[in-house]
Amino acid sequence: MKILLPYLKKPLVVIGVALSGGWLLVAFLAPILAPYDPLETLQPLARPMATGADGQLFVLGTDMLGRDILSRLIWGARTVVIYSTLATLTAYAFGMLFGLIAGYMGGRIDAALSFAANVVLSFPVLVLYIVIIVLIGASPLNIVIAVTFSSAPAIFRIVRGITMDVASRDYVAAAITQGESTWRILLVDILPNTTGPLAVDFCLRLGYTAITIGTLGFLGLGLPPPTPDWGGMVNEGRAMAIAFPHLVIFPCIAISSLTLGLSLLADGLREVNEAKERQA
């Protein structure tokens, strides 16, 4: 609790925690919170707050297949939370592994890894996603692979930079002169000292990934229907958005509130980190 205190003093951080934590909770409690089955056809194109034939209340209305939008948003939260977290974590696993190696070893290993990363980074991100998904097909696993492949190089570059800085500290020299193994130096002396800036990037990247999954859904390259998916919902409602704006507005609000929450959280983390560094 003491560690969290400086974070909770900033109003923006509190909003960030509330938004992202709120969605996390929604995802966790989806079976309890959702009023209906997200896949069940109830009554097509009901307006928000409309009452159905059997007396059901559709708080956010229904889509053209008659599925309850609130329930789909709630279940969709679960999709986006699970897959963006999973994808960001795997991207981090690869990015950090190679970043540590390149930053510490330097020389040819660094040159080769950096070249590979730059090649991937030179593609426009969206094009890259589309190419990958088209090549390997749309499935939950493949979305994770696509995000990992396109985010890992950026993480690699950040980790490589921090590693080069930390590797020049005397405590790393001390570990070398003690005869410590390279792996242990990387894991005990370098890795734990890179985490401050990485925590900030992690939150931001989680938000980007949520947008990415939304974008892929919107392009029809996301999770195969009928899985509830925010981007997919916008895509399906697009054609009738003028007559029935509720089809797209609510999923859009969901995507942006989650990303906003994560960005605010990242900002707060950065401020507190900087304050800590100033003190030290």
């Binding site: 500290r169 005397d170 405590y171 002169t177 003690q178 005869g179 005990v188 030290a280």
Partner: protein, 524 residues
């Protein structure tokens, strides 16, 4: 009686809530007279820098002047507007900072930077500005003034840069000059020249000078009056003679006692027998630039060798070669009978424990994320101890270096600079090395702490019969701890011998220059 230039009365600067004391500066009263150098001396955290920053109208963020006055010609500096400050700075008060490179603009030539001062504070025509800039550069005894004026800061040495900074501070002939550790970043021989220059300025122009320093040797060389600060308060103020010769306050006495003497102790000659460390014909090059030339070292167990040199002499490169952080271009390093440079991989890792290093920066040499005990115990285990042995050895070592056993479960952030250096020593000793290398291991410490760490090193060295290579720029420190001294200049050993011989009868001109430049000779 002349009117003082600056009169500070009962000045207190409040620290933010939650700091370790309520005031950074508390109840300070002092005056600066024309043609006088007032030295403010104190250790880190004494408030000396906050005091001068406040007098320059640049108190660090979060600090607040609580009460007091700083009168300069009846104007209270603590209450003038930021607009007025822009007039005062440069014109009435000149400033010199510790890092000369950082106080100059790297994108402008020396001439442009000096002329800019005239542009800001006068309406002199361009030709006159140029003439005066040149005159200033000449007055600073800078060689080849025309070349210097055309140069950018990176083309000059640290000492030359500091003289340019002084020239800029003096451009408008300010009545008061504030110098915050102006020679700390310089080599001793350069420092001696800059100190001489500052004394000249006082004599010729009658500036009042506030000179902040932590170095009592420098104080002895330059001060007319001395103010000793401790925890924000002036504990003693008086003429240089009086404060240095008959200090009244216990703290001043302790500070003076802690200054290491240039007189070496008598040491027995080297015992015959196998050497702990032998270095033959060690050469090192960075690209085509050779930085070490045929270095030879022969050190017996239980002996201390100091390698003394200025920045760029190659002394740290020797240290890094010995512990194989970098490999030399050629040569032999034999530790405890084992040729080190031929070793690779696992064999090298095993032999590394025989030669250990204590690093310079107490804040950079300990991993901030690891607890102190496990960090030291890990070193012990790497040298072959079992887990239980390692923990027992760690606890003994913590006691041996003068730390509480409770230090075991704390992280480095909980310790002061001197304590961290003790932890670094314990970590190196946990491997039970034959040779210990101390690379400027006490130079980042306050003088009283420095004395304690030096005593600790000397004590451990004799008790454990360690061979110690002590790398330093400070002859006083070398005099205190060494059996033998090597003087290094531009990668060449210019003089070597028993400490007493090198210090009392130096043979090489460079050694004589170094000795002559040591601040505070004749007083300490």
């Amino acid at each position: 009686m002349t009117q003082p230039i600056l009169h500070v009365r009962d000045l207190s600067v409040a620290l933010p809530k939650g700091a370790d004391r309520p005031f950074a500066v508390e109840g300070v009263t002092l005056e600066v007279n024309p043609a006088e150098i007032l030295c403010i001396v104190g250790e880190s955290g004494s408030g000396k820098s906050v005091l001068t920053a406040t007098l320059m109208g640049a108190a660090p963020r979060g600090l607040r002047v609580a009460r007091g006055q700083a009168l300069m010609s009846d104007e209270d500096l603590l209450r003038v507007s930021e607009r007025r400050w822009r007039d005062i700075r440069g014109k009435d008060i000149g400033m010199i900072f510790q890092e000369p490179m950082a106080s100059l603009n790297p994108a402008l030539t020396v001439a442009q930077q000096i002329e800019e001062v005239f542009e800001l504070h006068s309406d002199l025509p361009r030709a006159e500005r140029q003439r005066r800039a040149r005159a200033l550069v000449e007055e600073m005894h800078l060689p080849e003034p025309d070349r210097i004026l055309r140069s950018y800061p990176h083309q000059l040495s640290g000492g030359q840069c500091q003289r340019v900074v002084i020239a800029m501070a003096l451009a408008m002939s300010p009545r008061l000059l504030i110098a915050d550790e102006p020679t700390t970043a310089l080599d001793v021989t350069t420092q001696a020249q800059v100190l001489k220059l500052i004394r000249e300025l006082r004599d010729h122009h009658g500036h009042g000078i506030i000179f902040i320093t932590h170095d009592l040797g420098v104080v002895a060389d330059i001060a007319d009056r001395i103010a000793v600060m401790r925890q924000g308060q002036i504990v003693e103020i008086g003429s240089a003679e009086q404060v240095l010769k008959s200090p009244a306050h216990d703290y001043t006495k302790a500070l003076i006692a802690a200054v290491p003497s240039l007189e070496p102790h008598d040491r027995p000659p080297a015992p015959a027998g196998a050497s702990a460390l032998r270095v033959d014909a060690l050469n090192h090059s960075y690209g085509t630039k050779q930085v070490l030339h045929d270095i030879e070292i022969d050190l017996s167990p239980g002996r201390v060798l100091s390698i003394v040199g200025e920045s760029g002499s190659g002394k740290s490169t020797i240290a890094r070669n010995l512990i194989r952080l970098t490999d030399p271009s050629s040569g032999r390093v034999v530790v405890a009978g084992q040729e080190m440079l031929a070793l690779k991989g696992g064999a090298l890792r095993k032999m590394r424990r025989k030669i250990q290093m204590v690093f310079q920066d107490p804040f950079g040499s300990l991993n901030p994320r690891r607890k102190v005990g496990p960090m030291i115990a890990r070193a012990a285990m790497l040298s072959g101890a079992s887990r239980a042995e390692a923990i027992a050895r760690t606890k003994d070592l913590l006691e041996l270096v003068g730390l509480q056993r409770s230090a075991y479960d704390r992280r480095p952030a909980a310790f002061s600079g001197g304590q961290r250096q003790r932890i670094g020593i314990a970590r190196a000793l946990a491997m039970q090395p034959d040779v210990l290398i101390a690379d400027e291991s006490v130079s980042a410490l306050d003088v009283s702490v420095q004395a304690q760490v030096l005593d600790l090193l000397a004590d451990l060295q004799s008790r454990l019969s360690l061979a110690v290579v002590f790398i330093t720029h400070d002859l006083r420190v070398a005099a205190q701890i060494s059996d033998e001294i090597i003087v290094l200049s531009k990668g060449h050993v210019v003089e070597r011998g028993p400490a007493s011989a090198v210090l009392s009868a130096p043979q090489h001109p460079y050694t004589r220059d170094l000795l002559a430049a040591a601040p505070g000779r004749g007083v300490f």
